[in-house]
C-alpha cells in the first residue's frame, strides 16, 4: 500500500495526463476513422476546460455536472459550425479547423472579464482523481468500441473510403460526419474539464498549436483502425519523453518528429505496423 501511495505522490500528474491524453486521442480517432482531418480538438478541449473550471470556480456546481457541461458546450459549438464546415473536403477542412482553433484561442484571450485573458484561470479546485479519469475512459472506450463493431462503424469505414458511393446507398453522410464531429468535440471537452482540475492553472496557450499537434500525433501514431490504436498512441506519446530521461521539455519536438516519421514510414499508424509485424512473424514461422 505504501509503495502505491508513494508512487502516486510522485507520478499522479503523469498518470492523469496519460488518462486525459487517451481521451483526446480517442476524440480525434473518431474523426480520422471517417477520413476527416480535423485539427480543432485542442480548441474544443480548451472550451471544455474553461467551461468546467468556471463552473467550479464561480458557482457551487458539483464536479460531475461541471464536467458534463464542459463536454456539452464544445458539442454545441461543433454542432453550430459543423454543418457548413464539414462540407469542405480534405485540405480545406484541415485548414478550416486549424483556423477555428486559432479563433477560439483569440476569443478566450480577449474575453478577459470571463476567462482572465492571458493570465488564465488560477486556483482551480483539484477535483480530478484517477477514478473519474478511469471512468471517463471506460465509458468512452465502451461507446467507441460498440460503435466500431456496429453497422455505424461499418458505415464510417465506408465514408472513409468513398463518401459519394456511401451517400448514394441511401446513407445520410453529412449527418454521420456531423455526429462524429460533435461526439469528438464532446470527448475532447470532457478531457479538457478533467485536465483543468488537476493542473490547477489553465491559460489560452495550453490549447493552441502545440496541443493540437500533440493530439494529432497521438491520433496518427495510433492510426484510424481501432480505438485501441488511439490508446496506444496516447500512452506512448505521453510517456516517451519522460522515459527518455527527462526529455520532457522537448515534448513538442518529439511529437513533431513522431508525426513526420510515422506519416512517411507507417501512415496507418502503429496499430498497422504491429499487425504487419505479427503477420510477417507468423509467415516466417510457417516456413
Amino acid at each position: 500500500m505504501e509503495l502505491l501511495e508513494s508512487f502516486w505522490a510522485t507520478y499522479s500528474t503523469l498518470v492523469l495526463s496519460v488518462g486525459t491524453n487517451v481521451l483526446l486521442a480517442l476524440s480525434i480517432y473518431l474523426t480520422l476513422a471517417c477520413g476527416l482531418l480535423t485539427v480543432g480538438n485542442a480548441a474544443f478541449m480548451g472550451i471544455g476546460a474553461y467551461t468546467a473550471a468556471l463552473f467550479t470556480l464561480k458557482t457551487s456546481t458539483p464536479f460531475v455536472f461541471a464536467l458534463l457541461l464542459g463536454a456539452l458546450l464544445p458539442a454545441l459549438v461543433a454542432l453550430a459550425i459543423g454543418r457548413p464546415t464539414l462540407r469542405l473536403s480534405g485540405v480545406y477542412l484541415a485548414m478550416a479547423t486549424l483556423a477555428f482553433g486559432e479563433i477560439v484561442r483569440i476569443l478566450i484571450l480577449n474575453a478577459e472579464n470571463l476567462t482572465g485573458g492571458a493570465l488564465g484561470l488560477n486556483a482551480i479546485p483539484q477535483l480530478t482523481d484517477a477514478f473519474e479519469v478511469a471512468l471517463a475512459i471506460a465509458i468512452t472506450l465502451y461507446i467507441l468500441l460498440r460503435l466500431a463493431a456496429s453497422r455505424i462503424g461499418l458505415i464510417m469505414a465506408a465514408i472513409c473510403q468513398d463518401e459519394t458511393a456511401t451517400d448514394l446507398m441511401g446513407l445520410n453522410v453529412p449527418a454521420y460526419k456531423l455526429f462524429v464531429f460533435v461526439l469528438g468535440a464532446a470527448i475532447a471537452g470532457l478531457a479538457g474539464g478533467l485536465n483543468a482540475h488537476f493542473t490547477f492553472f489553465i491559460s489560452p496557450n495550453e490549447y493552441g498549436f502545440e496541443r493540437g499537434v500533440e493530439i494529432l500525433a497521438m491520433g496518427v501514431l495510433g492510426g484510424a483502425g481501432s480505438p485501441w490504436g488511439a490508446v496506444i498512441g496516447a500512452v506512448l506519446i505521453t510517456l516517451l519523453p519522460e522515459i527518455l530521461r527527462g526529455l520532457g521539455h522537448y515534448r513538442p519536438l518529439i511529437n513533431g518528429v513522431i508525426l513526420i516519421v510515422i506519416i512517411i514510414y507507417s501512415p496507418r499508424g502503429i496499430w498497422d505496423l504491429l499487425r504487419s509485424l505479427r503477420w510477417s512473424a507468423r509467415a516466417r514461422a510457417a516456413n
Binding site: S150, R151, I152, A157, A158, A165, L168, M169, G170, N172
Partner: protein, 259 residues
Amino acid sequence: MLTLSSISKNFAGLQVLHEVSLAVPERGIFGLIGPNGAGKTTVFNLITGLLMPTAGTIEFFGQRLDGMAPHRVTRSGIARTFQNIRVFKEMTLLENVLVAMGDRARFSMLGVLLPLLAYRDAERRERQAACELLSRVGLLDKANFFAGTLSYGEQRRLEIARALATQPKLLLLDEPAAGMNSVEKQQLMDEIVKLGNANLSILIIDHDMRFIMGLCEQIAVLNFGRLIARGTPDEIRADPGVIEAYLGRDHAPEPVIQP
C-alpha cells in the same frame, strides 16, 4: 414512373445536355446510348442528385427529384452502379452489402450501445438478406473476401448486389458490361433479364450494341447532349440520325475518273 422534362445542364458555359425529355415506365429494361461525350453519365448524375439541372425538372412517382440530396434519392427507390467501379475495396463483400442495407434496420443508438436481443435479431436477419443478395449474383462463396481481391467482372456483380440491397424500384446501370469478355457479358445479360422480371425497372447505359439491343425493350439515343431518337431496337437500328451519329454521313467525294 421517372420523367425527365426538358432537362438542360451546362458546366460554366459548356452545354452538356440540351432539353432532354425522357420517360421510363414502371417495369422493363431500357437503354440509353450515344457516342462518347453525349451526356449519358451526366443524365445519371442528374437523376441521382449528384448534379443539379440548369433547367428542367425530374420527377419520380410524381415527386420532384432535382435538388434532392443523393441519399434521399436513393431512399426514394433509385439505385445506381458506376462506370468506374466504386466498391469498398478494403471491406469484405458481405460488409459492402451490409453498408448498402444501411439504416434500414432502424437500429437505434440504444441498440448499438447495449447488445439487446432485438437488435441482434435484426442484425442477423440483415446478414441473411445480404447473403441472399450475394448468392443472387453468384458471389456467396466469396462473401468474406475483401472486395479488392475480386476480378473486374466480379466487382461489377458486387456493385449490382449492393445496388439491389437498397431495394430500388429503378436501377441505373452505368456501363455494366465494360471490361467483360463475351462469356461474362452473356451471364450478365441473363442476370439482368432475371432482374427485369422481378418487378424492377432498369435503365442501362452501354456501348456494346449487341448487349443493348439484346436486352432493352426501348432505347433512347443521345448525341451532343440532345435526344435524337427513341424507340424499339429495330427502330433505332434503322434510324438515319442514329447511324449518322455513330458512323458519320457519307462525305466521300465523287471519284475523278469513272471506273
